[in-house]
Symmetry: C2
Subunit: 142 residues, 2 copies
DNA sequence: CTATCAAATGATAATAATTATCAAAAAGCA
DNA sequence: TGCTTTTTGATAATTATTATCATTTGATAG
């Protein structure tokens, strides 16, 4: 795992707890998880791990660019591994299913902004809401 | 104000408190405000207004489509009046300035999503982060 | 291998945002 | 005016997040 190098090069240790958080984020198809979900999963391997450790680990992983914060409109933030691929998410308002969306071009977006202002875009946050295919097809709803 | 009709048609009353919240959202160039900012402004006219009333009013205004929730990455949500114009916001990471961005075409976005999935987009949430013009120009920074 | 020191953890308290309750006040109407 | 429903304000309860601090762990020097 490349995360270990990025941690060590900054003087941080890859502890078992941190490894477990990384594995939780990597599992289950890499869907974005909130802190509670991550804590539950890590607890299977580390019964009694503190919720604060989960928060601290996520904060660190985001700082190092290993994880990305995702906003899915509810109360709590979600996190996902930074795969290097630029993507956002489609959130089904009916079943809650979250799937990745890759049709966003950050460069083109920044240009469009520059056209109407002198603002320099360095990052953005996009979430798309609607109804997923399963919820729309009559046969195979869930 | 058209908000009054929308309220009354659903059996709600346009109370002085609700009017004050609407005025707070309309003032100051219609910038998105969080609940604390709204509460402070309304308190000038209504000393002792409950914070819960502000929350309840915002929830109602959003339900009726009179106000829109805006996510600007920090802890608390922001709200703005629904002007009917589709727009998002540019958030300066240096000075915190927030300015509207109108270069988003929801229809085109929905099409792009349909191209790569069978997801039907009904709404989306976009925030753009970066450095504003004032913070980049050496002479007139703030 | 053991002593040492900084980093990390777990338990817990403290904040902060939001929501729920409920009795009192206000508004609309007979 | 009296009755009914809505709305409010005060307050408690939740929930998410951050801060503290004593203890443990991991790396390293001797
Ligand atoms: Mn994007
Ligand atoms: Mn848009
Ligand atoms: Zn669905
Ligand atoms: Zn700025």
């Amino acid at each position: 795992m490349d995360a270990e190098r990025r941690l060590r090069s900054r003087g941080y240790r890859l502890t078992p707890q941190r490894r477990a958080v990384l594995e939780a984020l990597a599992g289950e198809g890499g869907r974005p998880l909130d802190t509670s979900q991550i804590h539950k999963r890590v607890s299977r391997e580390f019964p009694g791990i503190g919720l604060a450790t989960v928060y601290r680990t996520l904060e660190l992983l985001v700082e190092l660019g290993i994880a990305l914060p995702v906003h899915l409109h509810e109360g709590s933030r979600h996190y996902e591994l930074n795969t290097g691929e630029h993507r956002h998410h489609l959130v089904c308002l009916s079943c809650g299913e979250v799937q990745p969306f890759r049709g966003c071009d950050p460069g083109e977006l920044a240009e469009r902004v520059r056209d109407e202002s002198d603002f320099l875009v360095t990052s953005h946050c996009l979430s798309l809401f609607g109804i997923c295919g399963s919820c729309r097809s009559p046969g195979r709803g869930r």
